[in-house]
Point group: C3
């Protein structure tokens, strides 16, 4: 991947074969990025797994042919001492129809051009909300958050 | 909702049951946000009404089951002394297919993580363009705009 | 079109009948914008041509009825002495279903509200990668890039 910055804003290029979520997590760890919005992303994926929350779990669907990535956004927080990436994706297959949802995993096809806005000096949390079984973004976690 | 800022950039979290457009309008009024881009948003909605402009009106469609919000963007302007929110949404239902359009209304499911970039010192207008019957964004309204 | 800025961030409004990619290229040339993310865009198009990369070419599909633009993002780079715009689009037709992909061309319907974040002092490149036959974003091109 490539990454350049202007103050608190970043532009990234992910490369063929890179695993999107681990690559972003490693980037966040390296740059100590603890609070950020993933504001945009386009490119393509060779494979991806997307999820629909059915009330108790993310029901997964695999995309097994290359898809154009038409939308990619989300947030970077920190949970249990590590980066926590939450992203949703919109992708177009050979029939141009868009499918999408919660991003469970994806492997870059040709590239992903993504822009990220960080919030310096902040740490967003992502604590587990036990009542629903999901981690939830917390923009202002307390010292123990 | 939660809202944190870094200069002219904001990160928001809308919470379960919140009505998206009134919540954003109230936020804009409270922060006196008169010119902004809604640059990204992900999460889920329990219900939503989306519109397709058929040349004379927004033909509505209701989404009555929870959908993952995969895209959410638009603008905040000021019209008739009040915030004017214009947003489009892309949403995935249980079949992962994306539907979307002009956002007429939506109720948050689990959350909405949204980022907003404001343009301090500016006021965007949204005057009614009578020839087509729609309010149109005006980035540089005059004193009477 | 209208364009206003706050530092390195821009908000644009494209107007009815404008051809999206040439209009953005002309804007980039006029403002000497050599490195930017197109982070969001909503509005409508009257016609558009979208592409799916099938491994050797962009297989095109024409949208011949007005579509709501629900997602629009990408990047602005510089190649062969001219702006190089790369954008993907998500669009909803009268059935609210989203289609999308690589943007080959589009004509504005009612408007396009778009936000752009530039990276001052940088030039992104878009050299042809002959092995795959596509131009690829290069965030840190060398002096000859």
């Amino acid at each position: 991947m490539q990454a350049v910055r202007d103050g608190s804003r970043w532009m990234l290029r992910l490369d063929p074969g890179e695993d999107v979520l681990p690559t972003l997590a490693e980037f966040a760890r390296r740059e100590d990025l603890r609070a950020a919005a993933i504001v945009s992303g386009i490119g393509s994926v060779n494979r991806a797994k997307i999820g629909y929350w059915d009330g108790s779990e993310y029901r997964p669907r695999e995309l097994t042919v290359p898809h154009e990535v038409v939308g990619f956004s989300g947030s970077i927080a920190w949970a249990d001492g590590a980066p926590s990436i939450h992203a949703h994706i919109a992708a177009a297959g050979p029939d141009y129809q868009l499918v999408g949802g919660h991003l469970l995993s994806a492997t870059i096809g040709i590239l992903l051009e993504a822009s990220i806005d960080s919030f310096p000096g902040r740490t967003f949390g992502r604590p587990l909300l036990e009542s629903i079984g999901l981690r939830m973004l917390d923009l202002e976690p307390g010292p123990a958050g």
